[in-house]
C-alpha cells in the first residue's frame, strides 16, 4: 500500500498506523498520546479511506473536511494525505464596503471563481501591500455566487486591513485563501437546538450558520445571542434581523447582551440553554468572537452540562497573535 504526502509516495505496511509509517520514513507529524485522545496528529485525507477507527471521536464538521487521526489510521488501501489547511488562493475584487453601523463595514467581494466553503467558515483576505487577515463569511454559497461574498468587518482606523477597506475603491484587487474553521453548519447533521453566541463581529459567522439552518429547515430551535461591549456595538440592532424571522415554521430567537449595561453573555448563554429545557447532549453551540468572551461562554456552557465536543468555537485572535 502507498501513502502519498506532499507529492511523495511512501510504503505503508499492513497494520501499521499512518503516524508510524510517516515516522519510519522520517516525516514527523505532531503527536502526543498516540491513542486518539489528544488529537494532535489530526491530518486530512485528500483521497482514499483511512478506515473507521481513524475518525473516532472527531467532530462531524472535521469529518466532512476529511480529517482523521494519523495514530489510529490503519488503512487497507492507498491514501493521499495533506496537512490541515493547505493554502490555495483565489483572485478577487472588492465590490463595495459600506457602513452597517458605527465602526462596522459590510464588505462584498467578488472572487474570480466559485469559492467552496461551509456556512460559518472563515477565509483569509489579502490586499495589495502584502497584508493578510482572516474574516468570517456571512453569505451562504448560493448568495455569494449571486451578490458576492459578504463579510462584516470591524474598523480599526489604524488597522492595516480594516482601515484600508474603509477607504478602498470598488474594484480594488484582493485575494482569498482556502476557507477553514470548524464552526460551521452541516445540513441534516442533527435535529436538536442550536445555540449561537457571538461578540462583536463574531456574530457574522453565526448569521451564516443561522441562514444555513433555516435554508435546511432545521427542525430545532435556533437561539442567537449577540454581545457587545457598548450599546452601539449591536450593529445588527436589538431585534432579530428580518431575514431570519421571515421564513415560516422556523423557530429563531434573538437576544442581545451589552457588557457596559452589566449584561454577561456567558450567563445569558447558560440561561438560554436552561430555557431550552432539553438534554444538554441534544444541543449544539457555536461561539465566535474575542478569545476572552468565547472562553467564558464555553466554560459556562460546559459547567451547565454541555460536552465540549458539542461546542464549536472560533476565536478572533488579533493578527500576529497566533494563526
Amino acid at each position: 500500500m502507498q501513502l502519498t504526502f506532499e507529492g511523495r509516495a511512501y510504503d505503508l505496511r499492513p497494520g501499521e498506523s499512518v503516524l508510524d509509517a510517516m515516522a519510519r520514513h522520517g516525516v514527523g507529524l505532531p503527536s502526543a498520546c498516540r491513542v486518539g485522545s489528544c488529537q494532535a496528529c489530526m491530518i486530512r485525507s485528500v483521497s482514499g479511506d483511512p478506515g473507521p477507527d481513524a475518525r473516532r471521536g472527531l467532530k462531524a464538521t472535521w469529518l466532512a473536511s476529511g480529517y482523521f487521526l494519523a495514530c489510529l489510521a490503519r488503512p487497507s488501501c492507498d491514501l493521499t494525505v495533506a496537512e490541515p489547511g493547505d493554502d490555495a488562493h483565489t483572485a478577487a475584487r472588492l465590490i463595495s464596503a459600506r457602513a452597517m453601523g458605527p465602526g462596522v463595514l459590510r464588505v462584498l467581494v467578488r472572487p474570480d471563481r466559485c469559492l467552496d466553503y461551509q456556512p460559518g467558515q472563515h477565509v483569509t483576505l489579502s490586499r495589495p501591500g502584502g497584508i493578510t487577515r482572516i474574516y468570517s463569511i456571512v453569505s451562504l454559497p448560493a448568495q455569494s455566487a449571486r451578490t458576492g461574498i459578504e463579510l462584516h468587518v470591524r474598523v480599526y482606523p489604524a488597522g492595516a486591513m480594516s482601515g484600508w477597506l474603509a477607504r478602498a475603491r470598488p474594484g480594488a484587487p484582493l485575494s482569498l485563501g482556502s476557507p477553514a474553521g470548524e464552526c460551521f453548519y452541516l445540513p441534516g447533521n442533527s435535529a436538536g437546538p442550536l445555540l449561537l453566541a457571538g461578540t462583536g463581529t463574531g456574530i457574522a459567522p453565526l448569521l451564516a450558520v443561522a441562514r444555513a439552518a433555516l435554508a435546511d429547515q432545521h427542525p430545532g430551535q435556533v437561539v442567537l445571542i449577540h454581545g457587545a461591549a457598548e450599546p452601539d456595538g449591536l450593529y445588527l440592532g436589538r431585534q432579530c434581523p428580518p431575514e431570519l424571522t421571515a421564513s415560516p415554521g422556523s423557530a429563531v430567537s434573538w437576544r442581545t447582551c451589552v457588557l457596559s449595561d452589566g449584561e454577561d453573555i456567558a450567563a445569558a448563554a447558560a440561561a438560554e440553554l436552561a430555557a431550552l429545557a432539553c438534554p444538554p447532549g441534544s444541543v449544539r453551540a457555536y461561539l465566535c468572537g474575542g478569545a476572552g468572551s468565547v472562553g467564558r461562554i464555553r466554560r459556562a456552557l460546559f459547567m451547565a452540562g454541555m460536552s465540549l465536543a458539542d461546542i464549536y468555537a472560533d476565536r478572533f485572535v488579533q493578527a500576529g497573535a497566533g494563526r
Binding site: 498520546c33 491513542v35 485522545s37 473516532r56 460546559f302 459547567m303 465540549l308
Partner: protein
C-alpha cells in the same frame, strides 16, 4: 474484579473516557477549593491530559508522554492532602455515577493514591 478485563474496557474504551473526564472535570471546577487552580488553564489541554491520566489509572492502553506529575504540579507549592483528597473524591463520585462497582472504584482510587507524593511534591 480480576485482571481479565480492565475497568477501562468495561467503560467502553476511549469515547466513554472522554465523557467520564468531562463529568470529573466539571466536578473539580465546581469545587471552590480546587477551581482557583484551574482558572487560567486551557480547558481543552486539561481535558486531553486528564483523559490520558484516567486511561492510565483505569488500566487502558496508554502511552502518556506528558511531563511527569511532579514537575506538572511543582508550580503549585501550596497543594496539600485536602486538595488531593478532594480530587480523589471527585474521581470516585464520577466513577460511581457511571455505574462502576465499588471494588473497581477502590482499585482506581488506589492507583491514583500511589502518586500522592509526586503530586504534592514531597
Amino acid at each position: 474484579m480480576t485482571a481479565e478485563t480492565s475497568v477501562y474496557e468495561r467503560l467502553g474504551g476511549s469515547l466513554a473516557i472522554r465523557s467520564v473526564t468531562e463529568v470529573f472535570y466539571r466536578k473539580v471546577l465546581s469545587d471552590d477549593l480546587l477551581a482557583p487552580y484551574f482558572d487560567d488553564v486551557d480547558m481543552d489541554r486539561q481535558i486531553a491530559k486528564q483523559a490520558s491520566f484516567l486511561t492510565m489509572a483505569l488500566g487502558g492502553p496508554n502511552e502518556y508522554t506528558g511531563d511527569d506529575l511532579r514537575s506538572a504540579h511543582a508550580g503549585m507549592p501550596d497543594l496539600d492532602d485536602k486538595h488531593f483528597d478532594g480530587v480523589l473524591g471527585h474521581l470516585a463520585d464520577t466513577l460511581r455515577a457511571f455505574g462502576v462497582s465499588e471494588a473497581d472504584v477502590s482499585e482506581v482510587g488506589a492507583v491514583a493514591d500511589s502518586v500522592r507524593n509526586d503530586v504534592l511534591n514531597r
